[in-house]
Symmetry: C2
Subunit: 192 residues, 2 copies
């Protein structure tokens, strides 16, 4: 064992990271990921709950079953071993940063579907970005005011990353559409 991989499966670290800030349930972990990490990381229950069990078996977290008004809830807490595990990963090098943009694929093959279609695809992309930006900007403003908490500084950095790249995306959308539209004007009169 241990021959393959050496990479992948970062769910462990995401969960340990969140638990290092605060003990919580699997359900709450999912909410935090969707709230704070969704811009650059995603997770489903189908990977969260099994991972929590693995982490418990490896003694990196402990499970505390509580019942709040008859409703069962498993609160997980990180152990010292878990903190060490997290730290080791945080200090390791070789981070994998992956982009997988179907929109760019469609743009790349744009000659097969024409300029109008490509413009439509860019518009759809632009709308998605424009819808996401306000949330990032709100997060930015909220975090700016909460600088006393050590963790917030780091949250802020990731939010800044999101805002910067999304603004770059929007600029690109404008320029790309201009390029494509200037092409169309050159052909003026050819279309009915």
């Amino acid at each position: 064992m241990e021959r393959k991989m050496a990479n992948k499966k970062k769910m462990d670290q995401v969960i340990l990271g969140l638990l290092s800030h605060e003990s919580m349930s699997g359900y709450e972990i999912k909410k935090r990921i969707d709230m704070w990490l969704t811009f650059f990381w995603n997770a489903s229950y189908g990977s969260i709950y099994p991972t929590l069990n693995e982490l418990e078996q490896d003694k990196l977290v402990t499970k505390n079953q509580t019942s709040d008004k008859g409703r069962n809830k498993n609160i997980y807490a990180i152990t010292d071993a878990g903190k060490q595990h997290l730290q080791k990963w945080l200090e390791s090098s070789g981070a994998r940063d992956e982009l997988r943009y179907e929109t760019l694929l469609k743009v790349f093959f744009g000659s097969e579907s024409g300029m109008y279609n490509t413009i439509n695809q860019i518009n759809e992309f632009e709308r998605k970005i424009e819808q996401s930006l306000p949330m990032l900007k709100m997060a930015y403003q909220n975090l700016e005011g909460l600088q006393e908490e050590e963790t917030h500084k780091f949250y802020l950095l990731t939010v800044m990353f999101g805002i910067k790249t999304y603004n770059a995306y929007l600029e690109w959308c404008k320029e790309a559409k201009q390029m494509l539209e200037s092409e169309v004007k050159g052909l003026e009169g050819d279309e009915e």
Copy 2:
């Protein structure tokens, strides 16, 4: 069947797209992906060759076995059905654009490893970007001169996207490190 999915597996479209430009072998497809799409899409032989067989069975491509000086080579060509399939996808909406940046995860949990480590992680990220940018800029300059070819306009758009976002990343690296370093200066004298 057809109940699940409705999304995913874009390898078909990537291959059809490349073959719509030019007939080629699986090996050559891999090279093209690594050359042109690597910034926003990746593929391995383990997914290319099986997909080519599926596409052939579905009559979306045809295989032509040739032997070039005793060396066997399978040249694939897109069929009319394949072109229709590609077109349908190009014109469909709901593109999935996904980012998965481990570096940002490490930054987000930066409070657990400290400012120095986070700066190191950002430096590593910065170096990777700085190494990739020259290739994108070269591609940009090459494509600018070849505007008569219809396909090149669209290649250029994706290259522009890459350059713009990478520049935004580098800006972020600078700002992020400044924020973290100003923090360190505030504590000057605390370290031995």
